[in-house]
């Protein structure tokens, strides 16, 4: 079973379409969305409806902090994110808001855990940005494999038998074996707002039969997505960063 893992879409229709198309070409049979469908981007309605369609067809979608902020104000958000969420709230109808409100924080299937942020208090939205944070996630869960998003930069962590946490930056399109001897944490990059200086959208495919994960980068129409953000009157930085991937 090839599971496409998509996170941090942030109302970026162009990026989501590109990744869904790529995943279909790569033979994805199942879809798991790791949260943050809205906020920052110009297409929250379209993206929310798209995710709801996939969920209706059997996909799993988790709750992200930006999705939660639509129905529950988040005091930790910065001014720009808050401005984007306030604008988003005016765009989503009751059905779309109810869909976001219905999403779970995490999902465990056998020994695999899916969560938007850290497994260590998922509702606190901790960022897994380094080995120390990855260790807290490993300690909070017994799952052999953990997949999360939230950071917007792809990364693979492994905890060794001697309890060292090792960080690895995945190479584009190269499947990495998740050897069962160790526990692994995959931080999936962002579909809609990559922050590793690479503007191409990021997502991953987990192949359960071969026990491998491949992280992909998919170029998309960044100029188009950025122009829509400007046209919507959202803060300039949100359009500029798409072009640079920061």
């Amino acid at each position: 079973m090839r599971i496409a893992l998509l996170s941090d879409i942030h109302a970026n229709r162009e990026a989501l379409e590109a990744c869904l198309g790529h995943a279909a070409e790569m033979g994805a049979e199942r879809y798991i969305f790791l949260g943050d469908y809205v906020g920052y981007g110009a297409d929250p309605e379209w993206v929310t409806d798209k995710i709801a369609d996939y969920v209706a067809k059997g996909a799993i979608a988790l709750l992200g902090n930006h999705d939660a902020a639509v129905f529950r104000p988040d005091a930790h958000m910065n001014d720009i994110a808050t401005a984007a969420i306030e604008w988003t709230r005016t765009r989503l109808n009751a059905r779309q808001q109810a869909f976001l409100q219905s999403l779970p924080l995490q999902k465990q299937e056998d020994d695999v855990l899916f969560v938007h942020a850290s497994a260590d208090s998922p509702e606190a939205w901790h960022y897994v940005t380094d080995s120390a944070a990855a260790r807290r996630t490993f300690e909070a869960s017994k799952a052999r494999l953990i997949f999360c998003g939230h950071v917007h930069v792809p990364c693979i962590y492994r905890i060794t038998t001697t309890a060292k946490v090792i960080e690895f930056t995945p190479a584009d399109s190269t499947p990495v074996e998740l050897s069962p001897i160790w526990r692994w944490l995959n931080v999936i990059g962002a579909v809609g707002q990559p922050r590793d200086r690479l503007p191409a959208a990021a997502y991953a495919i987990f192949d359960t039969a071969r026990n491998r994960v491949a992280h992909y980068r998919v170029p998309y129409d960044t100029a188009g997505a950025a122009a829509k953000i400007r046209a919507a009157g959202l803060p300039d930085v949100l359009s500029a960063r798409l072009l640079q991937g920061y």
């Binding site: 038998t161 060292k164 190479a171 074996e177």
Partner: protein
């Protein structure tokens, strides 16, 4: 259920593979010939001894080989067949029907021609390995098998490194992993990302084959491994006077402490081994005594100041072999000039490139014999001089350029063969402008573009069109 070697016997079946014969038992695994497979070649099962009570190295190297071997393709690596999980560990792979390099160790020192032949074969296999993103990191005679057709096969990827995958060994162990006589200085310091570590090991092998002695001995402890950082080996010519200065130059260059002082790629090494007259000799060639402590200590300090961390792909890409084919007999000056301009542009981006200038000359079958006499010899020398003259404006360092004349009734086929034999990365050829000539001679460049095993640039002079 961890495999217990004591309890395995012929006739046992492991996941459909029937054990026929125990071929060998090593420190970390046993090797069985097996039958009942779908493969159309003989298959062996490598069964590691995994002890879960703390023998991490055998577990990690089993996982490493299981991940890397299936990704290797070509005649220089055993075909991967299947692998078991860690509670039923085995790797099924092609049985290489050939002669292990260890066999040659019984008759050391070898004839020099044999050392060179083996060196070319192993260097070729290494280049193919590096091109597939993998560094072996435990190259030694036990891990090389020569197929009946002469191709070298590299086995045992337990300590290897794939540069696009997590390095399972690197962070798991504080001590370096490798084999005493062959481990490179940078591996001793914990670096596992430099393809030139394999060239160091190959240098040790060639030294051993040519002299019967191991340049750094066979230290068992890691403290002993470190001695190669500051102890200079005895020059091989001191041990065997049949070794020519150029071969000593190559061997000593391979076992330099600083990877930057070695060959940049296995392909460039193979090229030199096959073109001895083109090897630029330095002080290494004439050296008859080992350098003193101070000299080698300064090399060691240099290494410590510039820790090698080249990265495999970048290392290969920075040191391609570029071949440029010229037909200077065609008297129009525009095309050679256009080819030179194109070559200059390509060389500008790759500082460690090796340039092979080829004078390609089409001859008829009756001419072949004529070229053997004295007139032929003079023509040959004149062509070399013309090539050298043509290349002057490129200002390439002497040690990075070679000149050769290729005469053939089929120049395109000769160039394609040359590119394959010499692992050329980039071939630059000129396109004939005149359609009349093309009609009579055929389009050499079109055939090369279609069939050459490398990047091809076809240069056309605008002045001719």
């Amino acid at each position: 259920m961890a495999a217990d070697i004591q309890r395995l016997s012929p006739g046992d079946v492991i996941e459909g593979f029937r054990l026929d014969e125990l071929l060998r038992t090593g420190g970390m695994s046993s090797i069985w010939r097996v039958s009942q497979t779908d493969a159309d070649y003989p298959v062996i099962l490598k069964i590691p001894f995994l002890r879960y009570d703390g023998d991490q190295l055998s577990i990690v190297s089993f996982e490493t080989e299981k991940i890397i071997l299936p990704r290797l393709h070509g005649p220089h690596f055993p075909h991967f067949v299947a692998a078991g999980s860690y509670n039923n560990p085995f790797i099924a792979m092609e049985f290489i029907a050939g002669t292990p390099l260890e066999t040659w160790l019984e008759q050391l020192p070898l004839e020099i021609d044999e050392v060179i032949r083996l060196g070319v074969k192993i260097a070729t296999a290494l280049q193919k390995l590096h091109e597939q993103h993998v560094i072996h990191l435990d190259l030694k005679p036990d891990n090389v098998i020569l197929r009946p057709n002469g191709d070298a096969v590299l086995i045992d990827y337990g300590f290897a490194r794939h540069d696009r995958l997590p390095d399972l060994l690197a962070e798991e162990f504080d001590d370096p992993v490798g084999t005493g006589p062959y481990i490179s200085p940078e591996q001793v310091l914990g670096v596992r990302s430099d393809p030139r570590s394999d060239l160091f090991a190959l240098g040790v092998i060639l030294y051993f084959l040519a002299t019967g002695k191991q340049p750094f001995g066979d230290p068992m402890r890691i403290a002993g491994w470190r001695r190669r950082l500051y102890v200079d080996p005895v020059p091989p010519r001191r041990l065997n006077d049949k070794i020519s200065p150029w071969l000593q130059e190559i061997i000593l260059r391979l076992i330099e402490v600083d990877p930057n002082d070695r060959y940049p790629t296995a392909a460039q090494l193979a090229f030199d081994l096959q073109h001895p007259q083109q090897v630029l000799l330095t002080a290494r060639a004439e050296k008859m005594t080992a350098s003193g402590f101070i000299k080698t200590l300064s090399r060691w300090l240099k290494l410590r100041r510039n820790p090698p961390f080249a990265g495999l792909k970048r290392q290969l890409a920075s040191a391609p072999i570029i071949a440029v084919a010229l037909d200077l007999a065609d008297r129009s000056p525009q095309l050679p000039e256009a080819i030179r301009t194109a070559t200059q542009g390509i060389l500008a981006t790759v500082p460690n490139a090796r340039l092979a200038c080829l004078y390609v000359f089409k001859i008829s079958r009756v001419q072949i014999d004529e070229m053997q006499d004295e007139t032929g010899r003079n023509i040959f020398l004149r062509r070399l001089a013309e090539l050298e003259h043509w290349s002057q404006p490129l200002a390439v360092d002497k040690e990075k350029v070679t000149y050769q004349v290729l005469e053939s009734v089929d120049p395109a086929a000769a160039l394609i063969h040359y590119a394959r034999e010499n692992m050329i990365d980039h071939l630059i050829v000129g396109a004939r402008a005149s359609s009349t000539v093309r009609r009579y001679l055929g389009s050499v460049s079109a055939k090369i573009v279609a069939e050459a095993p490398c990047t091809v640039t076809v240069v056309r002079s605008k002045a001719q069109v």
